[in-house]
Symmetry: none
Subunit: 410 residues, 2 copies
């Protein structure tokens, strides 16, 4: 089974909304072994829609369509589908009952325009939408399955989960696909590629490796299809081999988040943590506290953007700041010790750097960031060079700091 | 000029990442009067890429391609383009100089794999990428412009903004389109719609109004096309009318950011600011310090996640916390006064709330957030109810707090 997605709506093409539906659908289909071959976003235009339908049905045997089912004049998907299939629209009592019920629950009258929402393609199986006024429609035509759904994510997801995916799975014929993602930090894409060149060369032909870089992190994704048992066994073996080769860079797998991984380690050890942030300006605190339950190990942060606050609040000796500069090993080490005392914790992270765009010098250019880590094992500092983009410097420094701490905790 | 976007990468089709590049490109092109006709997302597959290129070039005369330019084996866009154009790849010294410089600034060696990053299509104009290792490539072939760019959003945006859009605009032939976006905070979409219903009804036919809601904020976008002078005059008139009607909710226009607006106001008044954050956990500090130059007015933050740190560091009387609870008007007012003293500032923001998912009670359910604002005009606190999603609570509380401060400063 090979699927394509067509999303209809001018708002996507002019960038007014980001199409998040397609990624969600892709994920869900993948989970049941159906591969999405292409995603096409087109305008609310009759000829364009018909052309896209024709092209997609030549490439795939399942075509999922979202959007253009609303009650207003710019919603033309239903009428266009009727033309495409050379059929008509018919009133559906069951769909209308849902529309009536929805309006009643909101204390509103059903207008003529809403009555038309209950009209469906004469050649379709109606997929009743329990959470909105536009029904889904399932059409089988010339060996291709077409499914039309509303573009509202909440309604589309309801129909996909409860109607479309079960029907597709029941038809069988879907292939077993397995993904495993390995999450790394602290190593560039090209270095990683060199390190695992032999591994990549020796991958079985039904396994694919992809590099997914983002600021400060590279995800490695292994994908395989075939017989469930043999693919699963081989995948486990390959992930173990790969993990072994690049162990020190791996912070997690699949949907893990670094801040969650660090939180789990702190919880497990019974350690509490505080942060002292200069250039990262609260970003590390924000990452750590975005995790539910972080209040059990996260005590707080002192963001010290001024020289005075570094001395007054964290006890960094003023003469050290004067002599070495705020962006220095000495200062960041004093900050990490100071914040541990202040919040009475076993662990701490401190940062001091030049986030730019101003403030750089030849010795300490923009992107220079000192990070200090303290755990019961000891305290150390490391200098990073992180390019010139302010927000990127903050984010990558944050990821590096959390990963440095993670390595100390394991 | 009619454009199409092709995004290349299996990670999009399996839903591992959401394609945000296309929406951004659509928006940017629209701003300069170029309409995106179709967006197509395809896999890292040679035949698929070639087919998509052929189809797109039959429908449009500008084809923008993102993705597949990385240094690793799964990145096949460059070689596929060479086949498609029946040309070869050649080493480009200027591109290599950038690669070398980037690696040098990060203190790393250039490997063979990185050297290959400097190979470009023999028939292209190289678009030098100042912020990454993969160059952009501009090819004109059979009356169609093809532009290949990296998929990393940061690099793609750099190339689009500095190279591609100026080149496209210079070619002319685009229609005059004018957008004006009005940024609001603290009012819901439907309330806004009711308030400006008459304004919307009376819009001239060549003006369109769009509501773009995001957590804690609604952007209103007016779009018009036509004769440059008359459209510009009418736009100014309409924006003035609209601004007048909803003035108290507007914090800026177009690309303004609330944290930047607040920073400008602080700079103008010569005030310094500090923050004391409990439930927002450093997010407000992060927002304020993401602004370049914020060190001139931002002194620091004390993130107090524990009861003890609220008393010890901010001087909130322990009996007040015990009696009123940490999430209370009394505590947040004591926090804001405490942090002002600590960092010796004229202004401060303090937050204390229940970000959830745990910790809610019938009196103080998840989403209850107290925000205190202090300026030389005075100090006050306000209670917000922000739903149940942890990250959304943090973000919306942060936006509300900054906007409360903004209103006090103007």
């Amino acid at each position: 089974m090979k699927a394509e997605i067509i999303t209809i709506g001018d708002e996507i093409l002019i960038g007014q909304i980001v199409d998040t539906n397609s990624a969600w659908i892709g994920q869900q289909l993948n989970d049941v072994g159906i591969f999405v071959h292409q995603i096409t976003s087109i305008s609310d235009n009759k000829e364009h829609i018909k052309k896209a339908l024709k092209e997609a049905s030549a490439r795939a045997n399942v075509v999922l369509i979202t959007g253009g089912l609303g009650p207003t004049k710019d919603d033309i998907t239903k009428h266009t589908l009727a033309e495409y299939f050379n059929t008509s629209l018919v009133f559906n009592a069951e769909a209308f009952a849902i529309v009536e019920q929805l309006f009643k629950s909101r204390g509103r009258e059903v207008s003529e325009i809403n009555r038309q929402q209950a009209e469906v393609l004469a050649n379709c199986k109606v997929l009743i939408n329990q959470v909105g006024t536009a029904s889904g429609m399932w059409v089988e035509d010339n060996g291709v399955i077409y499914v039309s759904m509303p573009g509202v994510p909440y309604e589309m997801k309801h129909l996909m989960t409860n109607k479309v995916i079960p029907k597709l799975v029941a038809l069988g014929g879907s292939q077993f696909i397995l993904h495993k993602t390995i999450l790394t930090q602290g190593v560039g894409e090209s270095y990683l590629a060199e390190m695992i060149a032999d591994f990549e060369d020796e991958l079985p032909p039904n396994f694919k490796l992809a590099y997914l870089p983002s600021p400060g992190s590279v995800r490695l994704r292994l994908t395989a299809s075939g017989d469930e048992i043999s693919v699963t066994n081989k995948m486990n073996e390959l992930v173990a081999t790969l993990s072994n080769q690049i162990q020190s860079y791996i912070y997690g797998y699949d949907d893990d988040k670094l801040e969650q991984v660090v939180g789990n380690l702190l919880n497990k050890k019974g350690y509490k943590i505080a942060t002292a942030e200069s250039c990262t300006g609260g970003y590390i605190a924000h990452m750590l506290t975005s995790v539910a339950g972080s209040s059990s190990y996260y005590m707080g942060s002192t963001v010290t953007y001024s020289y005075a606050s570094k001395s007054d609040l964290l006890g960094v000796p003023a003469d050290v700041i004067l002599k070495q500069g705020a962006v220095s090993e000495e200062v960041v080490l004093a900050m990490v010790e100071g914040v541990k005392k202040l919040y009475k914790t076993e662990c701490a992270i401190a940062t001091s750097g030049v986030a730019g765009p101003g403030g750089g010098t030849p010795e300490k250019p923009v992107g220079t960031v000192w990070v200090a880590i303290s755990t019961p094992k000891g305290t150390f500092a490391k200098k990073l060079s992180l390019g010139e983009n302010r927000l990127r410097i903050i984010q990558v420094a944050g990821l590096n700091a959390l990963n440095m701490l993670r390595r100390e905790l394991i």
